[in-house]
Symmetry: C2
């Protein structure tokens, strides 16, 4: 069946959202047209406004409306450590965890020479400059545990060591509350290798 | 954690889409901002264009850019029957089924006096006028098998009978290829009550 042109174009645009297929896109379009016309204007406006306003923070490369994002501009954050993450979503996850109060650096990807993603795309020059700052003591590597994430972590570690900084990698292991029998073999092997001495009470 | 204002507004707008929660909305926003900026402008434009262009067809109340939708304007559709559906999505489902070549009427809802949805909201006056046309022979009721859908079907049937038109209800029963043991009791009871004589070969 043929939809009117503007409806087909809307469905096609919605399909470009992650994990939205043809059926869901149609449902979204029909829902807005039938029951929630106000959302169409609001969403259109929000998309345009966000596209215009948001760029990378000049320091940590997180999304920001100003030259410096809120985290970089804050006086209450520890200046001694920089946590390197692959994406803004990873940064949000760590912030929501609540256990970290230092600085960040967002790579927007991971080293992948075959896809043309080299150190320049990830902004490693800028990170190198920040490491030259005497205030920074530790680089925390929170890249993913994929092959490319590990390779990226390796390069970052060399970079930080050459500047005489401490380098740490976030722990990979059994999730809190996770049942051993449901944890995959590779995570379990990693958890065993990364075992820690138990302190006496 | 606090997002920049324009990012928070975008996430809130995306959350208004059906079956999109806070986590999915964040993922959609981050995906577009990180990897697919082009989609932001395209989707904003498509939303505005569809909101501006689409209204109800003056005859069947399906979404249309013109006064008459493609189905109503077509010369190749049978004029003798009108199939009444609750929503444009239901119309699409029947069209995709491919077994029907007549006219439609979209209620955009079902009778629900407690929610203020009366005959006027569903456009029953317009349907009544169409039934007055001598070309129309049959009204096919494809409203849902909910209490409200059945009540709506009942009212529509009275309307059509008062004009001397044939009235039919689409069959409810065991889905094609469905296993009896997995069909719910109410559908099964309906399928038994609606049993049809088997023709001799």
């Amino acid at each position: 069946m043929h939809y009117p042109q503007s409806l087909q174009t809307l469905i096609d645009a919605l399909k470009r959202l992650p994990s939205v297929g043809p059926k869901t896109a149609q449902r979204m379009a029909f829902h807005m047209l039938e029951a929630d016309r106000a959302t169409m204007a609001q969403l259109a406006h929000a998309l345009t406004a966000a596209d215009d306003a948001l760029r990378d923070c000049g320091r940590c490369r997180n999304f920001s409306e100003a030259d410096l994002c809120g985290l970089c501009a804050s006086q209450r954050r520890d200046q001694a450590s920089i946590c390197v993450v692959e994406s803004p979503a990873d940064l949000v996850a760590i912030e929501q965890g609540g256990g970290y109060n230092g600085q960040y650096f967002v790579l927007h990807g991971r080293l992948s020479p075959l896809d043309g993603v080299g150190p320049d795309v990830l902004g490693l020059d800028a990170l190198d400059e920040r490491l030259a700052n005497g205030e920074v003591e530790e680089l925390i590597l929170a890249t993913s545990s994929t092959v490319e994430g590990e390779a990226t972590a390796h390069v970052l570690a060399q970079m930080a060591r050459s500047k005489g900084k401490a380098v740490t990698r976030i722990a990979h292991g059994v999730p809190m509350g996770g049942e051993l029998e449901y944890v995959d073999a590779s995570t379990l092997a990693h958890a065993l290798r990364g075992r820690q001495p138990v302190q006496a009470d």
